[in-house]
Symmetry: C2
Subunit: 239 residues, 2 copies
């Protein structure tokens, strides 16, 4: 068996990437994708716990997740930290640093994770040439802002149980967008991460998981979650 392309090239080629419809290349022609490919930097995958970037470091790259998952964390003035989001394949991170010299947040791999590094300056240049790319870029930015608005709603208005339900529904739909099961998946983040993200205590999240299991909404086994009653979960998520 022989390959037409060398494997490294295929791996970082937008054209052959299964995520292209979720990610920056969406809507680009083949030749435009090739231009985009020229700026994508290769790197060996991050191991679980490794930093993609850290608060205070010079900002150079945006990152698109190829596989794995990442948490983005904002340090607070008093030494605590807040998880701002979890990022999965096809999603773009580092956007809050675009206007600055250094990163404000840190990004940490939750499992073995491959990314496409996109040098921001080059990215701007290519956007200047390819209008459909800059359009898709703004579109991804905009939906990122939209996600964060939803999160503000979740933290501002919803009770603990609804927050967790909202979180699970959100994960479910992101898995299904990628063609994975929307009803059963593995959490790549710890209970501690989930509670931090949702503004709750660890114990509360733990109790909620057991309650939702007792109510036959979920079936939970450590990090494996199965959504037994999707409708009920959605109803709980609403408030």
């Amino acid at each position: 068996m022989s390959y037409k392309f060398n494997i490294a090239t295929v791996e970082t080629s937008c054209k052959n990437c299964s995520l292209s419809e979720l990610c920056l290349p969406r809507g680009l022609t083949d030749s435009e994708m090739q231009s985009l490919d020229t700026l994508v930097e290769k790197r060996k995958p991050y191991k679980s716990g490794e930093y993609l970037f850290q608060s205070g470091q010079i900002f150079k790259n945006l990152y698109a997740i190829k596989s794995g998952s990442v948490k983005v964390v904002l340090p607070s003035e008093d030494g605590e930290q807040q998880i701002i989001g979890f990022f999965m394949p096809g999603e773009l991170l580092g956007l809050d640093a675009m206007g600055k010299k250094t990163h404000v947040c840190s990004a940490i791999a939750l499992e073995t994770t491959s990314v496409c590094s996109l040098p921001f300056d080059d990215m701007q240049d290519i956007c200047h040439d390819i209008k459909s790319l800059s359009k898709q870029f703004l579109s991804l930015i905009s939906s990122e802002i939209g996600n964060e608005h939803q999160m503000l709603l979740t933290l501002g208005k919803k009770k603990a149980e609804s927050r967790l339900a909202t979180f699970l529904i959100n994960l479910s739909s992101r898995f299904s967008r990628r063609g994975l099961s929307s009803n059963a998946f593995n959490l790549t983040m710890s209970r501690h991460d989930i509670s931090n993200y949702l503004g709750l205590a660890d114990e509360t999240v733990s109790r909620l998981f057991t309650r939702l299991q007792d109510d036959n909404v979920l079936s939970v086994n450590r990090r494996l979650v199965e959504i037994v009653d999707h409708e009920k979960l959605k109803a709980i998520a609403k408030l």
Copy 2:
């Protein structure tokens, strides 16, 4: 006394706008500003309570605030709503709709408010020609994302009193950026708006104002707030 320019022109000219250093024109040459001016649309000011845009409406424009202030509100699935942010002169709003056909949020004037309307399609075209504009645009977007990250931290980690203190410190620094007093200002939003924004009950916010007044941190008279002890307030804001 005579004017070199007609007043309407002066009003919508970025070059003569006192906010240009906070807003999109920052870093642009005079001729670039003129290009930007060509796309700014005029309109009579909004009165208090009027909608700049409403959830579900077709998305056409971004808005830069010239004077006054605006709240942006996200409706939730169950008929409630969450205030996502308050916008003041020099700030840009509508960003969460860029990738979509319609607005998700609504924007409501809190007082008599003048804005610059920026048709998004034209805006993209001009960004394509003027690199420094697209840079400044991304920079504004990025700091907007940064603000929302801070808000996630506030809602996720801080107790009621710290939330209110954080809110007031934030307002204070935004007033001072515009050359206004950082120690005494009028709130343009109601207590109800503040509590909604901060994820608290109206009564809690009311109690906190009186407590901070009793502790000689603030002096509050209805919507007029004076920060008596800025350091103490900052300390409370941290957690």
